[in-house]
């Protein structure tokens, strides 16, 4: 578990503890994902990638690329 300065980023079954204060875009890049291929949800709301991550935020990343 993270401390009160960290936030949680989830994508499929993966989960990362990240520092608050950075933008969502920065966090997405930091965990090795392509910002264009995911959308971010916080508290059931779509949030733009320039949003600053607050302590204890829980951010869900949703993949937007499908094949077939």
């Amino acid at each position: 578990m993270g401390d009160h300065h960290t936030a949680t980023l989830r994508y499929h079954e993966q989960e990362w503890q990240i520092h608050s204060g950075m933008t969502i875009r920065h966090a997405i890049e930091k965990v090795g994902l392509d910002p264009q291929s995911v959308l971010a949800i916080r508290e059931k709301k779509l949030v733009n990638h320039q949003t600053t991550i607050e302590p204890e935020d829980e951010i869900l990343l949703v993949n937007v690329i499908s094949g077939g």
Binding site: L46, N48, H49, Q50, T51, V64, I65, S66, G68
Partner: protein, 306 residues
């Protein structure tokens, strides 16, 4: 970052359109964009009955929702493919039926391939010695057309988005497959004396990201798991290439696709050989370019399904 229309916090930024919008204005923007696409490509008329091919995924559910909100008479068609891996087809169907339950003005028809034709799509593909995806496309097109004809629908509409279309275009471009290029269009008119129902792709100018965002903002639950047969698909690889391009040059995908559509309309893409002549399949009565029996019926006959 603020919504450019109302000053509230923006939910999405779209550099390709130089636009940042809040949730409320985003939904309105998507609906206007789709309405304009339908109008500009003369896809169908306001009072036409439409059959929406619904997979349970984000694009088809977004499309169905947008059409209903725009006032179209749009029913859904879910084709249960019989993909059992982790219950994929059952789960996908549950999302389609869950959405349909929220829209009493529309109906959802379900065609279960295994129940109707005796074999699931993976079994039929295996019998033909082909990859599931190639059989799947042919079988879905057959069922969609037959259902639309029998139900008297004016058009079949599918949820292909801009990324789907641009990736398909890249694939066709790489090898200059003129026949495929000639048939790739936002709308394909009715053909074979009405035997082939008109097909339209109202989301063809909507980025995949925009379609997903619409579905999330509208609170529509959809199957997020990928079809197990789509893993490693060439289309995903091509989408990645196009996203690299888009990152360097926002709007590139849109320009690429719209430029192609204009070129096609101006006659730059001409199919090789003569136009296909349609006959009527002796087994099912659907149009076919093959002699006497269509590819679908030949496949079933080979499987002992007829």
């Amino acid at each position: 970052m603020r919504c450019q229309l109302c000053g509230e916090v923006a939910a999405i930024s779209m550099p390709q359109h130089r636009l940042k919008l809040c949730e409320e204005h985003y939904v309105a923007w998507v609906e206007r964009r789709v309405a304009r696409t339908i109008e500009s490509y003369e896809m169908f008329a306001p009072d036409d009955r439409l059959l929406v091919a619904v997979s349970g995924g984000k694009d088809s559910l977004a499309l169905w929702d947008i059409l209903l909100r725009l006032g179209y008479q749009a029913d859904g068609l879910y084709i249960h493919l019989g993909i059992e891996h982790e219950g994929y087809s059952d789960i996908s169907q549950s999302y389609a039926t869950a959405y349909a339950a929220t829209r009493p003005e529309a109906t959802l028809q379900i065609v279960n391939v295994a129940q109707r034709y005796g074999r699931s799509i993976p079994e039929l593909a295996h019998g033909r010695g082909r990859r599931a995806c190639s059989s799947c496309g042919m079988i879905k097109r057959y069922i969609m057309n037959r259902t639309a004809r029998e139900g008297g629908y004016a058009a079949i509409v599918t949820g292909h988005n801009l990324d789907d279309e641009a990736a398909q275009l890249l694939q066709n471009n790489l090898f200059w497959v003129r026949g495929y290029l000639q048939r790739q269009a936002p709308v394909l008119p009715e053909a074979a004396g009405g035997g082939l129902v008109r097909k339209a792709k109202p989301l063809c100018l909507l980025y995949e990201r925009e379609s997903a965002a619409y579905t999330l903002v509208r609170g529509i639950a959809y199957v997020q798991r990928e079809c197990p047969y789509a893993q490693g698909a060439t289309s995903i690889f091509h989408k990645g290439i196009l996203n690299d391009l888009e990152r360097r040059s926002p709007g590139a995908k849109l320009q690429y696709y719209q430029g192609f559509v204009r070129a096609r309309q101006e006659g730059f893409i001409v199919a090789e050989g003569e136009a296909a002549e349609f006959e009527v399949c002796a087994r099912c009565g659907q149009p076919t370019t093959a002699n006497a029996v269509c590819a679908f019926c030949r496949m079933l006959e080979a499987e002992g399904g007829l």
